[in-house]
Symmetry: D3
Subunit: 298 residues, 6 copies
């Protein structure tokens, strides 16, 4: 097994040589698995009775809620502290451990104080999903089986931490649900109430997107940037979608100055890089979009 011994030595040398992007020194980074577990607790807190296998009833609800709130808080405090230590190290600051801890704790307590309000907003998303999909047979089905709902639950949580300027964790959260649903919403995106994504696979919503109330998206929709020059990072690069807009599958809407006016409908596979006024109907021209001819024998 000397060959493996040499392989280990080779890797250790590699860590030293390529140390710039390797994170074996310094404070630990937040753990993806720990953040994912905390998200599961938060989802159960938002929809008690829908996620846990053990029965929840009126009488043990308080016990369950108490356990989950404390467990998730403990995990988030620890991961937030790691994120803050990383942030201050990037800023060239030393010695934050103690201060980081208090900052992390206050941040997490602030989040839990806000969680009932976040939940109230999520209830509007549930209603929008049920109202918006003729295939939905019940509200319970929406909560149990709609990946678009899970994506917005996680987004509204991640977005809270994004606004609080906590690094890394919001992105870990958004990628956790991206991996589960195929829906990639950057935690920086601002999204109004009654938001619904149907099917959802392939949806991408960029960091500076603004979305109004009652907006509905289908699978494969991209709300993206035209320019990707790194130096422009801080500017608004992604579109604005006003209230009550519906965007069908595969449509691509790009650019920070692009505004889709309220009440508009964007058809499937549309490619849009300029603004359209309220109540527009944008679609691929029929007729010449496809050619139909008898199939030639293979």
């Amino acid at each position: 097994m000397e060959a493996l011994g040499r392989a280990v030595e080779g890797l250790l040398s590699s860590y030293e040589r390529d140390g710039g992007v390797n994170h074996s020194t310094g404070p630990n980074l937040p753990s993806r698995a720990a953040v994912a577990r905390a998200l599961e607790d938060l989802e159960t807190l938002v929809f008690p009775g829908f996620r846990e296998e053990d029965g929840i009833d009126d009488t043990n609800l308080g016990l369950v809620a108490g356990e989950l709130v404390h467990r998730a808080a403990r995990a988030l405090v620890r991961e937030a502290e790691r994120s803050l230590a990383y942030k201050y190290r990037l800023l060239g600051k030393d010695g934050c451990p103690a201060a980081c801890h208090l900052e992390a704790r206050d941040l997490v307590l602030g989040f839990f104080a806000e969680l009932p309000a976040i939940r109230a907003t999520l209830m509007t998303d549930v209603e929008a999903a049920f109202a918006g999909d003729p295939a939905a047979k019940s509200v319970a089905e929406v909560i149990l089986a709609y990946p678009g709902l899970e994506a917005i639950v996680v987004h509204r949580i991640a977005h809270w931490f994004w606004k609080a300027e906590l690094p890394l964790i919001p992105r870990i959260m958004s990628e956790t649900v991206h991996g589960k649903t195929g829906i990639d919403i950057h935690p920086g995106a601002c999204i109004g109430r009654r938001f619904f994504i149907d099917h959802g696979t392939g949806v991408v919503i960029g960091e500076t997107t603004l979305i109004g109330e009652g907006v509905k998206l289908y699978q494969g929709v991209t709300l993206g940037a035209l320019s990707v020059r790194k130096e422009e990072g801080a500017v608004k690069r992604h579109p604005t979608i006003e209230d009550s807009v519906t965007i069908y599958s595969g449509a691509t809407i790009l650019g920070g100055a692009t505004v889709v006016g309220a009440g508009s409908v964007i058809g499937g596979n549309v490619w849009l890089t300029h603004s359209v006024p309220p109540n527009s109907r944008v679609y691929l021209p029929e007729g010449d979009a496809v050619l139909v001819e008898p199939r030639r024998p293979a």
Copy 2:
């Protein structure tokens, strides 16, 4: 930690206030995790030797099959009973527990009686995948590594329960495999033998879709609805795809009256909302579909 105590109280108030969509009272809903585990057992039963880590051989095959059949049956009876209790509660009926249990058990026993026939159909899907992909080196590779096959395995199981009018569970099943593969087949869709989806991410097949035999789909294909008015829920809203049709990646076919005739080929990214006759070849027009010009210096 008083702050967290207040957070718990805030959530408990929120549950009372927004009780309409919160499921902490009444019988428990079916568990997503339990349904997912039962699906894994069923997949092992369909393809013994491909899913379990422990070795399966001719001599212990009967023991493994016996264990998995009973384990999956037990889980499905419990979850089916919960689904039925939910269904009867929606219908305003009381006191179903005992009746629900017998109904759940008969349903599940009926399913297992049908499982060998379902497996026979799935064998035709395996053959179609192997025949249809030049990259497939062996049948074993198809069973081990093709997400399109996993999606159709779960669909044929979920569809059986859908036809049996069991609520919630078929949709939980379809979302379980949607999360794993990015392929979203509504359990209501009727799909013929020798079905093959290659790559598969982003495929959406709606509730009232009818698909014939020997159909082949690529990633990103949508078989969807034109109208999404809730009140029309029960009508056929999704297209009909006849035998031996091939649909390339990113194509979108919409509408309950849209029929793609047998033997047709639909090209990539095509957007189709009307019927085409058998043996059609539908594609994006070449030539003006894209502009090519030298890149301007950045």
Copy 3:
């Protein structure tokens, strides 16, 4: 419970009848779960400090690396041996167990000898991701939260085993990460340094694709085949993408003879089946691509 007894008998009969594709006899196939766990170890070895929950520091790094190298090697030797036994059985050869084991071990030792070099290439991919996405706030964020990076990590590992002509395992690896990220890169694809996929859901890269250095892809890009006749399996069926090409979301590029010249930019949703010279700019024509009109009242 006689009904279930009959169901078991029915399945056992089904296994005998449809034995051609059922793998309950012969040597065991490689385990998907075991390969997935080995991949997690390999990812931790590539990015120590980013994947494990327990803290890694300079002083225990050698112990962690030693444990993971041996654990992953043990698992890979076992699964590789199963793959080789399958391969030789397909070739009609008997009695490989002992030889398979030595071949498997040499193969895996060879892989670990190469792992530092693979890691060096992956560092260029990390840099490309950080440079290429204005939303990336730090290199740590890229490693923690970019599914495109995870896809290329697994691809470079799977591709090594593909070149070594080990069956099944490279495909299991690529499907493992496909399931997690929605990015489907065939292990046969050859991909140069500094490769970056943003968002990534729905990307498909075929078996005989050639990709140069510094290429950047967005979600939903297909690099696919025009012809799918099985008998042509061994020929180059997928395109060549030269250095420094950028391909925007939803673009589809098909055909083994199709070459996208160095420095070109392919716009979103473009459908391309012929070659374009270096520094081309290929995009959907504006103007007639979409119709905008006031929305008719519902």
Copy 4:
């Protein structure tokens, strides 16, 4: 596998035939595993920082305590409810579910209100162990590694529930720690402060034993009953041990009327069935207890 089918039928018949002691009907009994997990949480609450693998510090102590209190309370309420339902069924009462639940909850809340006082008593046991064993190098060692301490921790908890007349659960608790330590203390025994058992394997302390303050026992001590006639169940059958008594290994003290006076020392292997006055010294007579002779060659 028909043979196994018959075995299952045989067992099912056996359950019907021997139904008197089989508990497959009626409410579920409390779960041993759930009680054992709750005990682990309670041990961590009594000695934070000694049982959990994750670090506990001053700042996350409140979060950990909150989580564990709620989690243990939830589990205990559920198991207590099952115990009460069993109790009322034995009493021939029907329909307790709702009442049981409230009774269970009040009971558990009462326990947690008392837990700080129980912990204060346990601190005296820790001190007694440290003072009483010359091999103990530190208080931390006592808490980490003395099975006698673990036995008394669980006993003081189980005894609280015994006094509250909750059936089954106190005995499950005492057997859980009996299995871990070999120390069998019936939950009915009354034990004073500063109690210490050294080594402990084989200690048996009966249901109606009374033990004063500052008592010390060694391994293999039995405090048992002379009479075991079932009809006398409710009387005091086990001895009384007054303050500051030491009992060495293997001693057996029997009988409900037997009183070991305060300050006495009972020597190893002594067999005692009558009372001794305070400050007695009871030991096996030396001299004729053993014969020593040269060993005969084998």
Copy 5:
């Protein structure tokens, strides 16, 4: 980390040098963990509703029983096969794999055919425990919390396999429950119906012990051998205990020719190496067994 590399080399050399007792070559030995899990399944099959956390009721009892029977059978067949391979290797025989498998399967099927009868005997042990202990409040308490019952459950199972001359597994079973209860019954011991061990820690019952019906033992009882010469291995070395004998704690009874006549009572700590007639009462002489004197001041 070269030091660890050398440690690994040192161990590998050690394995080669001390190969006689090292089992890294040849067929695998049975797994202690697998046997322990199978025992848990068998205990649940004997007492359904007492061991499993999930609820068992009349309607799912058949499903649970079916699952456990098949799961335990599968595990036992595998471990029995390993034991038989070991046995035949000791006997100098080659090439048993196929035959071993059939022999193992027949053995295990034979065991399950007998399990209802074993269960019927165990019901008499439950009754004896309830009748024999005034502290037992209910039959449920006996099944949930009496280690002596668990020991006899496992013994009656292990003894069946002992009689079937399966090596290793019966001893692994007896040690599994010895570790949990402190009760060490050699699987070769023959024990009649209505057997009860109270408390049990430290009980040792040797290989050739014969125990009649209705016998009751307390903790620390040894039924052992006088002679331990290896060459006499096959003879009866342990005592015979006739019907309805009671043996109190700490008594030691030795020798293959020693017979305790029916209905006798053996007192605590008695040391007995010769036979006693039926209805004897054997006890330590009172009076001079202990000296009582006032304690001298320390």
Copy 6:
């Protein structure tokens, strides 16, 4: 749930009030669970093929050994570091973290360098067990099923760390195996080669015991102290047992000056507090030790 909130507050107050023995501040103590897992790895390293469920063969033995050595070393370094930090805090020293780490690592590397020698000694214990028990059918049975062997394996490991003056961990190790086997050997005891404990429950061997080569003990033997005055902690308080002594079940030998001469046999239940010369035979006098009389009717 305010009641639980108050319970949490009560506990937090209790932690502050009784802070002297509560370990929520300062460096973390070593984890019992982590030490127990490391012991399992070490047991597998000592007896490869006897503890792991997965198969070990000659060809993967090096991989398994490499993984286990690194995994156990990592765990032990972490726990040893915690123990050393605790030790230096007790000594009033500050600031050891960095030094502790190096000291911990050197200690653990030193242990692994010695492990082959420890294993060689353990092989003599295996032989002694097989030779000494007529019930042992094979060496494999001894390694798989003799708790006395497991106790001495752990003792020889714990004793190494005891000699290295590492606090806490040796005692955690000895209690881990005490909990499993009922055999309590203090890690300070010095024990020669070819040591065998049969059955073992209730054995206690004190800190300053000296045991020669080829000694054999049965269950319930105590090698203990006469005096337990804390201030005498450092002196020899436990007996010396010379080579080739056999001590039967339940015997108690006490006192630091007590020497049992080589080749002696101590009979069952003997109570011995003075030295006996070599080749002594010490036993309870027969004849008057028990009274036998006909049983009086109940």
